[in-house]
Symmetry: C2
Subunit: 344 residues, 2 copies
Amino acid sequence: MVDQVREPRADGAQSARVARATMKDVAALAGVGIKTVSRVVNGERHVSEDTRVAVERAIAQLRFQRNASAASLRQGQSATIGLIVEDISEPTQSSIARAVERVALDEGTLLFTASSSDDPDRERAMTLSLISRRVDGLIVIPSPFDHGFLQPEMTAGLPIVFADRPPIGLTADTVLADNRGGAQTGTAHLIEAGHRRIAFIGDPESVHTGAERLAGYRDALADAGIPYDPKVVFLGAPSIERSEAAIAAALDVDVPATALFTGNSLNTLATLRAPSFERSALDHVAFDDFELADLLWRPLTVVAQDPSAMGEAAARLVFDRLRGEPGAARRVTLPTRLIVRNHR
Amino acid sequence: MVDQVREPRADGAQSARVARATMKDVAALAGVGIKTVSRVVNGERHVSEDTRVAVERAIAQLRFQRNASAASLRQGQSATIGLIVEDISEPTQSSIARAVERVALDEGTLLFTASSSDDPDRERAMTLSLISRRVDGLIVIPSPFDHGFLQPEMTAGLPIVFADRPPIGLTADTVLADNRGGAQTGTAHLIEAGHRRIAFIGDPESVHTGAERLAGYRDALADAGIPYDPKVVFLGAPSIERSEAAIAAALDVDVPATALFTGNSLNTLATLRAPSFERSALDHVAFDDFELADLLWRPLTVVAQDPSAMGEAAARLVFDRLRGEPGAARRVTLPTRLIVRNHR
DNA sequence: TGCTCGACCGACATCGTTGTCGGCGGCAAT
DNA sequence: ATTGCCGCCGACAACGATGTCGGTCGAGCA
């Protein structure tokens, strides 16, 4: 392991930095004007075959690469979009990133990614930093705080699309999963299995997805004529301790729970690891799918989102707007899918 | 499912792109020269308190944001680095990305990410595209093909660091896991448990990590005086079918295998899902850790890498070089960790 | 008083590219 | 022969920032 931190040095030593070739160099070598080089590089018309070949030869010889900063400055476009997620190492979000990347590549665009850690200040700073780089568009998984500061950018024509959660204080294109419907379906699946007492462990209602999924859970109960009972509903930040306490409480009430719905991946993980969960024999359905969920000691039935579809939809929206697609802010809702996994 | 949200877009079509404020505008409003605005924006000295305040007021009023393309053009630096991975949605690689991002943020630098899909043409195109954007540095998880085309960039002073696998046809800073040592440790763990006949399922030797890990497996066997037998070693592209066949073959030889070492995550997953694996009762150690590996029907003992440390080391190397750190190409090797998980 | 010095500030050139425009030569229509 | 048009091409300005350099002003010093 190498870890020598050394003083920054005022240049010098190995500074044999070779200057890069510019269009001027290429033009000189090919014996043409720089505008002609530009035309060749950008595939414009009105260049004779002969000069095109000559220019291409010079480009290859000098290993010329167009300076995108200069082009961006001149054109006001950067062939670049930005993606702000909460944490790129989280599987759902990296899948979104992958899909965005794929669409961007098709459009000849490069992607900036940045993780906000759900810190609004950081998110804001990163967003503005991306904008100062003149990204052509922005996709944001917003932290749950006001995004009004983006209004001027949007009216200035910058396409901004929100994914996974809607923005607060701003009306903009948004791509969401069908959180409510998914939670309803998952809960209904437990009801169909005969359960009448179903506990719920999820995010606080201040989180958009938390509120929506709780609503879906209540929808399913209502549909089945089962009264909603806050005594078996536990909302808060995910932790093994909280899940453990929730399970204990859900089993200790007047009519003990026989099943459990966990509302998001972190709460699901915490619950799976809670010591008393395995003993509890609670039937279980979770929101969000996992790699290996089929290979757990008891395979996990889940309501799965499609992060790839979400990323793709968001990216397409950005590029549609970039092409001038007019119209009011759109809201795209993506379906979820119940994946039933039975005992092994 | 697309529906519309209430308010229309503030600017009819989007044609009404409002021009962004430039330093010229700020200078005019503040009644100073543009160079003074530049000084304020960049925190240079030799600006009186009064003018600084006036300029800052004008900046706020006009919502001025420095155009990074212009600055980059002028300065030859972009405060931007690029990361090329094989697939950003793969957990190990997104963890690397997260760590790189963290270091970059500390350095006031933004991160481009791009997935090569292990396609050398794509990787090359993406790399050159990043270079044309004048990234200040590059981190690459290289596809197993020649990277000699990067030599001119490196001699031109662009810091390039390779992660996870060494580049081919190029000498450059590289950060690797201790693949050989890790595989040796993992295999030794099985030997200590009494196994003398251990099958190996891994990547082909053409993949660097595949070759190294196979070597580590052989090291452990040699240390224990167990002969290496190709009949229980299966190298190739991961698939459930291949794992299934491998298990059948390993059990069907003269002396059947009693344990299995899987050499990378994809082969591990394929093997876990192979129908006859569960029945086989093979003791099992895998290279690469997973979320949920502790909650499988049989908890999985693994040799874990530290992707976060890898990303951090690679990023630090880039910034060290950027600060002018001289010297020959370095190779950093990160330790692995055996995580023993016993029956539940 | 005269001179130096340093803090403060702005005009100007410059980075590398692309949009504008005008020149040139050849060809078809008049 | 003249006109007009079109394809090809290059000079030049502009994009928005920063480095250079020189100017102004007040303080300090002999």
